[in-house]
Amino acid sequence: MTTDQIWIIARSAGTAALVALVLSILSGMALRSGALAWLSHNRGVRAVHDLTSILWLPLVVAHVITLMLDPYAKVGVIDLFIPFLVSYGSFAIGLGTISLQLIAVVLIATWLRSRLTQQGWLAIHRLSYVAFVGSFAHGLLAGTDFAQPLLGALAWLTAAVLAIVAFRRLTATRARQSPARSKTVAIP
């Protein structure tokens, strides 16, 4: 495999991993808010959430391995565990490391869900939002392709859609909680 081929796989796998992560987060948020009710019922949205979480894994493994093989990226095994050690673009690459670790924690927590409390699992699962923001910033600051106008516009559009769905979910959750809260106050 040539250096160019390694570089191409690293870029495409990284972008596809981000796409899988976007689909996973979007379907996860849509489970509660019903934002994708026009597309599929909740069982279908749940299936997408589960599938894309699994699809993300081989893509990110391919992204990391190819970058470790790339003579210019100079990413070592230690950079998978300790962020911000890379000699160049350390912040941008470190964000990717942190995001990878966070999603790994979320996936492990999902597999061990039966051993965790609901609150504990939910707290860990919500780390995926932080991981997505980190991954997106990693793509922006270190990605070769986000600098292209068309791909950059697509990425920002996707992020805007996610932000809208997140806002809808947040408002829906607050609307559900507010009557219960007012009832609690009314009880002497």
Binding site: T3, G44, Y72, S87, G89
Partner: protein, 103 residues
């Protein structure tokens, strides 16, 4: 009065629930997998055509300068636009250790 009655009847009319576009779980699963794989394939083709992006935030020259890779051993490739690390042919002034029939 008529309007009031009509309104009351309207309330009783149950709106039919709109069915989603994709009702099959396998179909929606295939759609999600298709989007991901299409992005992988599309980016592979795109990256193959645009191997080097001069507006990218991280440039290979910066990476090469930041590391202790021997700059003298690297050579540029004009066909791809991306710097290629190649093993330089080592030259030495010492005598060769091996000999041939002609030497």
């Amino acid at each position: 009065m008529l309007a009031g009655t009509f309104r009351d009847e309207l309330v009783l009319v149950k709106q039919p629930k709109r069915s989603p576009l994709v009702s099959s779980v396998n179909a929606i699963r295939a759609l999600a997998a298709g989007i991901t794989m299409l992005s992988l394939a599309g980016m592979t083709v795109y990256a193959g055509d645009h191997l080097h992006n001069t507006t990218a935030p991280l440039q290979p020259t910066v990476a090469a300068a930041a590391t202790t890779a021997p700059a003298a051993a690297s050579a540029t490739s004009s066909s791809t636009g991306r710097l290629q690390l190649t093993r330089g042919v080592s030259t030495t002034t010492t005598r060769a250790l091996t000999s041939t029939h002609h030497s």
